[in-house]
Symmetry: C2
Subunit: 197 residues, 2 copies
């Protein structure tokens, strides 16, 4: 496998776990949260300040930032969330140039042109079961609320920065329900797919 | 594999070809166009009359049929397209009761509750290449128009009768881009997935 593999995932479906397994098997670097430090450095921000704008879409409020966002303003400058996204994009492209790797999230499937794109998801009950088995100690109702919130944000973020529909099968090469096959099953399936391309 | 496998597919992506290969490997019956005769029989129509309403959604015109469609009318009766869909639904359920099989299209993934649902798709250029390799002799521009037309109809039909979004990954257990891996690659991938469930 000489291509970058991107993994988009519903929260709690095990996309990160699958990515780690694939990276180990394929002996390639794995990037998920690791991208935060690299991207903060790229745009010259502290990790703390970077995280304030990370994976967020610009919110227009009646603030100085809003005035600066007005492209007709003399003081116009790119909103911080967009700067953060652009820095992340540059980092993803640089990493891809270095050779095959696994990248989780961050719209990497649309940033790169020649990657193999996976989407991992599962029914709510399967995701709750999985999260419970990880001993997060979180009440199932609170966990379900969190899952819906995170998915909503991921969907909006993806739509905002790519103009594409998050979770639409045609945006990916292979989409897998991890609830039925488990992460081990998804791993075997992805490996079978990779052997054929 | 003791479950029914349903295959939804974009036109020209090779979903039918994949279904035939899977049915042969798993030694189970295969139903695609075969459903037409069975469903026509189920609703007591000739195949010719059945095909007039097959895979269509009711069109409300200023005709007697329109007047009959009005649920407040004394003469209300279920539109033929709906009767045809319902007959097809009964046939699909009966077939599933008889044991594992492969069913292509016909919203079977939503009709059945415990099936394994696949979605097969490919980029337009890959589908045109595939259709060309099948020596259909059709001009690529005409073929592209046909592909878009058929996909549009399938999408509307699925949406109308299931209320779900055609091609949304979460509606299926496994979604595969056949352009990259080919039908043989998709076959190997599906077999790997089935071994894990």
């Amino acid at each position: 496998m000489d291509k970058v593999i991107t993994i988009s995932r519903e929260f709690g479906s095990g996309g990160r776990e699958l990515g780690i397994k694939l990276a180990k098997e394929l002996k390639v670097p794995f990037y998920d949260k690791e991208l935060i430090g690299l991207s903060a450095e790229e745009c010259g921000l502290s990790e703390e300040k970077f995280l304030k704008y990370f994976e967020k879409i610009p919110v227009l409020q009646n603030t100085l930032e809003n005035q600066l966002y007005n492209p007709f303003s003399l003081f116009y400058e790119i909103p911080m969330s967009d700067q953060v996204f652009l820095a992340q994009t540059r980092v993803i492209k640089k990493l891809a140039e270095q050779g095959p790797c696994i990248i989780v999230g961050r719209c990497a499937d649309r940033v790169l042109e020649d990657s193999i794109n996976l989407f991992i998801y599962a029914k709510m009950e399967d995701r709750l079961k999985r999260m419970n088995s990880l001993n997060t100690g979180t009440d199932p109702e609170i966990m379900e609320h969190k899952i819906r919130e995170v998915d909503k944000k991921r969907k909006e973020y993806y739509q905002y920065y790519t103009g594409c529909e998050w979770g639409k099968a045609q945006n990916y090469h292979l989409c897998l329900d991890s609830g039925l096959a488990g992460i081990e099953g998804c791993f075997n399936t992805v490996m079978a797919y990779l052997k054929c391309i």
